[in-house]
C-alpha cells in the first residue's frame, strides 16, 4: 500500500475535544489534520459557508484564488505531482463544479491524488432545478475514483477521512465530495478527526503472490534480451531506488513512458529513452526484438503500443501493476505480478541473477546513433536560421542542469520537451499524459510551484495551449508563484497541423492560430517578459528568465512547419517507426 506522504503528526490525530462545530469548520479541520497546506479554489453561493470558515483558518491553510475552476484543479494536480501529496480544490455548485470535470478526467487517467470539495444547494432543494444546481455526483462518477454527496454535517469528518485515504492509496485518483449548503451550516457535536486506514469494500493493493514473483524471476533469468519499460507507477509507488536496484542488478536496458519520465535520471547508463508515438527509435524498435518485456507501473496506452497485434508478439511479457484491471487489459501477460512495485520490485530483485547485457544494451546505442544522425542532430543543432523547439530545450538543459521541474502543455512542444529535457530527480515532469488536456500547462505549473517552492519551475507551453487558460496569469499576479513561462510559438496548432500535413494531404483546416502580444498581456498582469526570434538571443533570454526573481514570460518564435520525429503513425507497429 502506498500511502502518500503526510505532514501530520501523531498529536494532531488525537484532538478529541468534544465541541460544537459547523460542517464547514469540520471540513477545514479535516484538511489541516490531513496535512494540507495549500488549497486551490474559487468561491460561490453554495460554498460560501466553507469560505466563511476559511477566513479563520488563514494562518493554517493557504488558499490560492484561481481565475477559473479548471485552473484550480489543474493547479491541484501540479501540486500533487511535485509534492507527492494530495492536491485539494474547492469549487461551488453548478458551473463551478462542472468546470472541474476536465481536470477530474485528467487526474483520473493520470492517477493523480486529488480531493475536490464542491458546494451544493440545500438538501431540501436537491432535484428541484434550483439555482446553480447540477447533479455533480452523477456527472463526475465516470471520472472519479470515488465520489459522495454529504447532506448531514455529522458525516463530514469520516467522509473526508475516507476521501483522503481513497485518493492517496493504491492507484491514486481524484475523489469528489459534494456538500450541501445546509450541511456546511449545520452545528454538530464534533468528536475529533480520525484518519481513515481501511475501507471494507476497497483493497488498495492486491496481495502479492510470491509464486508469481518466482515465476517472473525464472522467465527473466532465462532471458537473453530482456527489456524493461516503466511508467508513472514507479513515482507513485515511491520506488525509484527499488527500481534502480532492479535494473542495475540485472543490467537491463530501461525505457520510460511519458508519465514515467524522471523516475530514472535521464543520464543513467541503462536509460535507453522514451517509448511511444514520438518516443525514441531504439526502444520502439527493440520492443519487437526483445525476448522478455518487463513492464513496470505502466498501462500499455495505445500511444505506447501502436498497433497491438504487432506489439512485442515475440516476447514473453511480465507485467507488474498495482491495479488488477490493468493486467491483460491491452497486452496479454505471460506472468502477471500484482502489487505495489515498492513491494514487488525488491522481491523480484532478490530472485534475479546478477546480469550484464552490455552487448544487448549496445544494440540500443547503435540504433540511437541512427536517430541522432537522422533526427536529433538537426533538431538540436539546426543549420537554418529558424529556431527549433529542440534547441530551446537543449539550451534550457544547459542552464538548469536538469534540476528544474518541467511542466508542459499538450502538443508538439510537449513531445519535443519529453524527448529532450534532462531530468536528474523524480517528480520533475508534470504533463497531461493520458488525457492530453490543452490548457493544462499554466495552471499545473502554478500548482507545481506550490508543491515544490524551492525548485525552479519552467512551464513550456505552445501558442495554442496558453490561450486556453491564459487567465491564470491573474493568479500568478495576485499570489506570486515564481513560474517561468516559456512559450514556444510556431503560429500553428502544430501537432494537428503535422497530422494534416502527413495524413490529410496538407489540407490545413483551422490550425492557423493567431496570438496576442503575449509579452504585453503578461505586462498587463504585471509580469515581466520578453520575446525573441533570433538564435543569438536565445541563451541570454533564457538566462534572464531563469535568474529573474519572480514569474517571467519568455516567448520564443520557432519554425512554423517543423514536425516531431520519429513517429509511430497511427495504426502501424512500433517497429515501423519512421525517422522522417
Amino acid at each position: 500500500m502506498s500511502t502518500l506522504e503526510k505532514t501530520e503528526t501523531k498529536e494532531n490525530q488525537k484532538t478529541t475535544v468534544a465541541s460544537q462545530l459547523t460542517g464547514s469548520q469540520a471540513v477545514l479541520e479535516a484538511l489541516t489534520h490531513e496535512g494540507v497546506d495549500t488549497v486551490f479554489g474559487y468561491p460561490g453561493g453554495a460554498i460560501m459557508p466553507i469560505y466563511d470558515a476559511l477566513y479563520d483558518y488563514n494562518d493554517r491553510l493557504k488558499h490560492i484564488l484561481v481565475r477559473h475552476e479548471q485552473g484550480g484543479i489543474h493547479a491541484a494536480q501540479g501540486y500533487a505531482r511535485t509534492s507527492g501529496r494530495v492536491g485539494v480544490a474547492f469549487a461551488t455548485s453548478g458551473p463551478g463544479a462542472t468546470n472541474l470535470v476536465t481536470g477530474l478526467a485528467d487526474a483520473m487517467i493520470d492517477s493523480n491524488p486529488i480531493v475536490c470539495i464542491t458546494g451544493q444547494v440545500f438538501a431540501s432543494l436537491l432535484g428541484t432545478d434550483a439555482f446553480q444546481e447540477t447533479d455533480v455526483v452523477n456527472i463526475t462518477s465516470p471520472v472519479t475514483k470515488w465520489n459522495y454527496q454529504v447532506t448531514d454535517a455529522t458525516e463530514i469528518p469520516s467522509v473526508l477521512a475516507k476521501a483522503f485515504y481513497i485518493a492517496s492509496t493504491g492507484r491514486p485518483g481524484p475523489v469528489l465530495i459534494d456538500i450541501t449548503k445546509n450541511a456546511q451550516l449545520q452545528l454538530f457535536d464534533y468528536k475529533g478527526y480520525k484518519a481513515c486506514d481501511h475501507v471494507r469494500s476497497y483493497r488498495p493493493a492486491p496481495i502479492v503472490r510470491k509464486e508469481y514473483v518466482e515465476e517472473a524471476a525464472k522467465v527473466i533469468n532465462a532471458a537473453k534480451k530482456p527489456f524493461v519499460v516503466f511508467g508513472q507507477g514507479i513515482i507513485l509507488g515511491k520506488a525509484e531506488q527499488e527500481f534502480k536496484n532492479f535494473i542495475e542488478k540485472g543490467g537491463f536496458p530501461a525505457a520510460t513512458t511519458v508519465m514515467g519520465l524522471s523516475a530514472l535520471e535521464t543520464d543513467h547508463p541503462l536509460h535507453v529513452g522514451m517509448l511511444g508515438m514520438h518516443g525514441n527509435y531504439a526502444p520502439n524498435v527493440m520492443t519487437n526484438e526483445c525476448d522478455v518485456l518487463i513492464a513496470i507501473g505502466m498501462r500499455f496506452d495505445d500511444r505506447v503500443t501502436g498497433r497491438l497485434d504487432k506489439y512485442a508478439k515475440q516476447a514473453k511479457v511480465i507485467h507488474l501493476d498495482i491495479d488488477p484491471a490493468e493486467i491483460d487489459k491491452n497486452v496479454k501477460s505471460t506472468v502477471p505480478v500484482w502489487g505495489d512495485c515498492k513491494e514487488t520490485l525488491p522481491l523480484l530483485t532478490e530472485m534475479i541473477d546478477k546480469g550484464n547485457h552490455s552487448e544487448w544494451v549496445q544494440q540500443f546505442r547503435e540504433l540511437e546513433k541512427e536517430e541522432i544522425k537522422e533526427v536529433i542532430q538537426d533538431e538540436l543543432n539546426p543549420k537554418g536560421d529558424v529556431m527549433t523547439m529542440g534547441e530551446v530545450i537543449k539550451v534550457l538543459n544547459d542552464l538548469t542542469g536538469g534540476d528544474a521541474v518541467i511542466v508542459t502543455d499538450v502538443g508538439q512542444h510537449q513531445m519535443v520537451t519529453c524527448r529532450y529535457a534532462k531530468f536528474n530527480s523524480s517528480k520533475s515532469n508534470v504533463t497531461s499524459g493520458g488525457l492530453g488536456t490543452m490548457g493544462f500547462g499554466l495552471p499545473a505549473a502554478i500548482g507545481a510551484w506550490y508543491g515544490a517552492p524551492h525548485r525552479d519551475v519552467v512551464a513550456i507551453i505552445g501558442d495554442g495551449g496558453i490561450q486556453m487558460t491564459i487567465q491564470e496569469l491573474g493568479t500568478i499576479m495576485q499570489f506570486g508563484a515564481k513560474v517561468k513561462i516559456l512559450i514556444l510559438n510556431n503560429e500553428f496548432l502544430g501537432m494537428v497541423r503535422q497530422w494534416q500535413q502527413l495524413f490529410h494531404d496538407k489540407r490545413y483546416s483551422f490550425v492557423n492560430i493567431t496570438s496576442p502580444d503575449f509579452v504585453a498581456v503578461a505586462k498587463g498582469y504585471y509580469i515581466d517578459g520578453n520575446k525573441i526570434s533570433e538564435r543569438k538571443d536565445l541563451r541570454g533570454a533564457l538566462e534572464t528568465m531563469l535568474n529573474h526573481d519572480g514569474s517571467y514570460l519568455l516567448e520564443v518564435m520557432v519554425g512554423k512547419e517543423n514536425n516531431v520525429f520519429p513517429m509511430v503513425a497511427q495504426g502501424t507497429s512500433v517497429s515501423e517507426i519512421r525517422l522522417k
Binding site: G45, M48, V121, F122, A123, S124, L125, L126, G127, T128, A130, V137, N138, S141, P142, K145, W146, N147, Q149, T151, D152, E155, I166, K181, N182, V199, R200, S201, Y202, D323, P324, A325, I327, D328, K329
Partner: protein, 196 residues
C-alpha cells in the same frame, strides 16, 4: 471472439449511485445490458446485482475487473448459463372472456405452469417463471389471443458453485457492519429552510 450469454453477479455496498457507477462501465464500451436486477443479498447490508449481457469472454473478464475496481464493490463474478440456476418471472394480463371461452388458452397456461394472480370480470392476470425461451414462447402464443399487457422481470441467478464467497461476505459484515444510508430527509422540509 464469439458472443454468448454471461451473467455477472456483483456484491456491493448498499450505497446510493451504485447502479450508475456500474452501468457506466458497460455504456462506455457501448455494451447493452440485457437485464439488470438489484436486490439485497443473503447478508444484511450487502447488495447483489445480477446483470445479463451477451459478449465475448475476454471482454466480460475485463468488465468484471473494472467493476471490481470500484471502491464500493466487494466482488464481481461472471458465469455462463451452464454454471447457473436462473429464472425470469413474467406477468400476463389476458381478457377474461378469452380465457373463459377458449379451452386452448386455458390448456396453454396450465402447460406453462402459469398461476392466476388476479381475477376480474374484464381480465385475468397470470404469472409464470422460467427460462427466457419458455416465457417468450408463451408470450407469442398469448399475443394471438389479445394479450393486454405483459412484463418480464430481470434474470435472477444462483451460482451453482458459490459457497466460497458467502462465508467471506458474512465475515465482512460481522467485522464491520454496514453504516445506515443517509437519504435526503430534508426534502420534505423545503419551506422551513432558508435559501439564498
Amino acid at each position: 471472439m464469439e458472443k454468448q450469454e454471461f451473467t455477472i453477479t456483483i456484491y456491493t455496498e448498499n450505497s446510493i449511485g451504485m447502479i450508475g457507477r456500474i452501468s457506466n462501465i458497460f455504456s462506455r464500451r457501448k455494451i447493452n445490458i440485457e437485464s439488470l436486477n438489484t436486490s439485497p443479498s443473503e447478508v444484511e447490508g450487502i447488495h447483489r446485482f445480477t446483470i445479463l449481457i451477451a459478449e465475448g469472454e475476454e471482454v466480460v473478464r475485463k468488465l468484471c475487473r473494472q467493476i471490481e475496481k470500484q471502491v464500493e464493490v466487494l466482488k464481481a463474478y461472471f458465469n455462463t448459463n451452464e454454471e447457473l440456476i436462473w429464472q425470469e418471472q413474467a406477468l400476463y394480463k389476458v381478457p377474461a372472456d378469452v380465457v373463459n371461452e377458449k379451452v386452448y388458452v386455458e390448456r396453454l397456461l396450465r402447460q406453462y405452469g402459469a398461476n392466476v394472480v388476479v381475477i376480474r370480470p374484464d381480465y385475468i392476470v397470470f404469472e409464470t417463471a422460467g427460462h427466457r425461451e419458455e416465457i417468450d414462447r408463451l408470450t407469442q402464443e398469448l399475443t394471438k389471443y389479445g394479450l393486454i399487457e405483459f412484463v418480464r422481470g430481470a434474470r435472477i441467478a444462483i451460482i451453482k458453485d458459490s459457497a466460497g464467497f458467502h462465508t467471506k461476505l458474512k465475515q465482512f459484515e460481522r467485522e464491520e457492519p454496514a453504516p445506515d444510508i443517509v437519504e435526503n430527509e430534508f426534502l420534505d422540509q423545503q419551506d422551513k429552510v432558508f435559501t439564498m
